[in-house]
């Protein structure tokens, strides 16, 4: 009797492990249009409305816990912001004068450096789900192919680049965030104007981005704005149009060599707390040539 129980228990465990491995192998081997991927997209269509409803219903709960967490961090942030405010006030005086001059120059050169997002036909979407696993940086949004979304379209908030659409179902899509290990984009720094590549170096929610392959890393300064460079080569189109803010240089770590520097970038968008995003559905309108020949 006991032996039979033991055998049964072991057989069930072996069967479940084998089934998991079969699923894993089949999924790993098939293309994104394969059967298992289609089943997942179908499941997203079914579960999407439920997630959306739950997300709305549980918003007060999220807000409550978010508020508690924010309070802990607020004190520390207040001190930093005070110092930041003083520095910005000093800068502001200089910028106002430079702004007038800049405006005139722009008119002269007919250069539109404003992020005129309307030309990208943005579609506003609400975040309905978030992956809890630290190895995946993905969110689910409540817009899909019916709203004109397609795979690879960039996703932004008012603060900066969030990521790109990686899976589209009828009314829902999955967005892979810029902190995902697969993220890489041609970028340049402002005002130091150095070309490079921004990559996610950590996993998931660690908010770790690094600026690599920089032309002259010595010219990059802490606090520099890092923006998308657009396509660097006509044959290799970038996913992201030019001049979308990715983040700010947070830290520059000196390496062994003279040019060896690790440039860490803090994402501009608040990836952990954002609720709304915009998907740029017509990227061709803004994809421009950058002034470098290398392409990541």
């Amino acid at each position: 009797m006991y032996d039979r129980q033991v055998r049964r228990r072991r057989a069930v465990l072996a069967a479940l492990v084998a089934l998991s491995l079969i699923l894993l192998t089949a999924y790993f081997g098939e293309s994104s249009g394969g059967g298992l991927h289609s089943v997942q997209r179908g499941a997203l269509q079914v579960l999407g409305p439920i997630q959306e409803g739950a997300s709305r219903a549980l918003k007060p709960f999220r807000d409550l816990f978010g508020w508690a967490g924010d309070t802990f961090e607020a004190k520390d942030e207040r001190d930093k912001l005070k110092a930041e405010n003083e520095r910005l006030q000093r800068e502001n005086t200089g910028l106002q004068a430079a702004g007038i001059e800049n405006k005139e120059l722009r008119q002269l050169n007919e250069l539109d450096i404003n992020a005129d997002l309307e030309r990208y036909e943005p579609v506003r979407a609400r975040i309905t789900g978030r992956n809890p696993n630290i190895f995946y940086s993905r969110i689910t949004i409540d817009k899909g192919s019916s709203a004109g979304l397609r795979v690879d379209q960039p996703v932004i908030t008012g603060l900066g680049l969030v990521g790109r659409v990686t899976t589209v179902a009828g009314n829902y899509s999955i967005v892979t965030l810029i902190t995902d290990r697969d993220f890489a984009a041609a970028a340049r720094t402002l005002p130091s104007n150095q070309q490079g590549t921004v990559r996610a170096t950590g996993s998931g929610n660690s908010n770790a981005l690094e600026l690599e392959l920089v032309e002259d890393p010595k010219r990059v300064r802490k606090g520099d704005r890092v923006v998308t460079a657009g396509s660097l080569d006509l044959k290799l189109k970038s996913y992201y149009p030019r001049d979308l803010t990715i983040g700010f240089v947070r830290e520059i770590e000196l390496g062994a060599g003279d040019l060896d520097r690790i440039i860490r970038v803090q994402p501009a968008a608040e990836l952990a707390s954002m609720v709304w995003v915009e998907v740029l559905t017509d990227v061709r309108a803004g994809t421009a040539q950058a002034d470098s020949t290398t392409s990541p």
């Binding site: 049964r8 228990r9 069930v12 465990l13 479940l16 492990v17 089934l19 998991s20 491995l21 079969i22 699923l23 894993l24 192998t25 089949a26 999924y27 790993f28 298992l36 089943v39 997942q40 997209r41 499941a43 997203l44 579960l47 439920i50 997630q51 959306e52 739950a54 997300s55 549980l58 709960f61 999220r62 816990f65 978010g66 967490g69 975040i127 309905t128 789900g129 978030r130 992956n131 809890p132 696993n133 630290i134 190895f135 995946y136 993905r138 689910t140 899976t167 999955i174 290990r181 170096t201 950590g202 996993s203 998931g204 929610n205 660690s206 908010n207 770790a208 952990a272």
Partner: protein, 188 residues
């Protein structure tokens, strides 16, 4: 645990509700930059209450649902959750732990197994995710946060499954203490 249509229905509903709440709310609240993950705790609680077979089966199904809903690689979560459910069940079958903090320890081990197991599988599958201090820190925080949530999750699961749990260890110990061994019910 008595496994019938009613208990399976309750377990299924519990899995579905936990999964939706996790994705729609819990994952969006971070503690020290890390969201809590209730699903390993649910699997561990079911294993701890229902035994190794129930735990392994439940782990597989919940893992599959999570991979399906989050568009992750199918099979990864199923594999790890199956092992977690089975392990929690075996602990109950071999040791029959009655200490009040057992679910907390099991929750911590479940969270550790899942995060480390996930990391190992990612590396085995050749996905580039470098081990960094930030990653180790996140794994440790996840374990701590999940350990703190393990007791309420266990209490909730136990409350829902009580009608199907004839021999709860704590009740049995209490009975043994007051009746000097077997209860009249078990003697009958």
């Amino acid at each position: 645990m008595t496994l019938n249509a009613q208990s399976a229905g309750r377990l299924g509903a519990l899995a579905f509700v936990f999964m939706i709440v996790q994705i729609a709310a819990i994952s969006q609240v971070t503690v020290f930059g890390v969201p809590a993950d209730l699903t390993p705790l649910l699997v561990a609680a079911v294993g701890l209450l229902g035994g190794s077979l129930a735990g392994a089966g439940y782990g597989f199904v919940l893992g599959f649902l999570i991979d399906l809903a989050l568009l992750q690689m199918l099979g990864v979560s199923s594999l790890i959750y199956t092992v977690v459910g089975y392990g929690a069940g075996r602990l109950r079958e071999l040791r029959d732990p009655a200490h009040g903090l057992t679910p907390m320890a099991v929750g911590a081990v479940a969270a550790a197994l899942i995060t480390i197991g996930f990391a190992l599988l990612q590396f085995l599958l050749g996905l580039d995710a470098p081990v960094s201090f930030a990653l180790v820190r996140q794994i440790l925080i996840t374990i701590v946060v999940n350990s703190l949530l393990a007791l309420p999750v266990y209490a909730l699961v136990r409350r829902l499954l009580v009608p199907y749990l004839p021999d709860d260890p704590r009740r049995r110990r209490r009975r043994a203490y007051t009746t000097g061994g077997l209860s009249p019910l078990s003697r009958a």
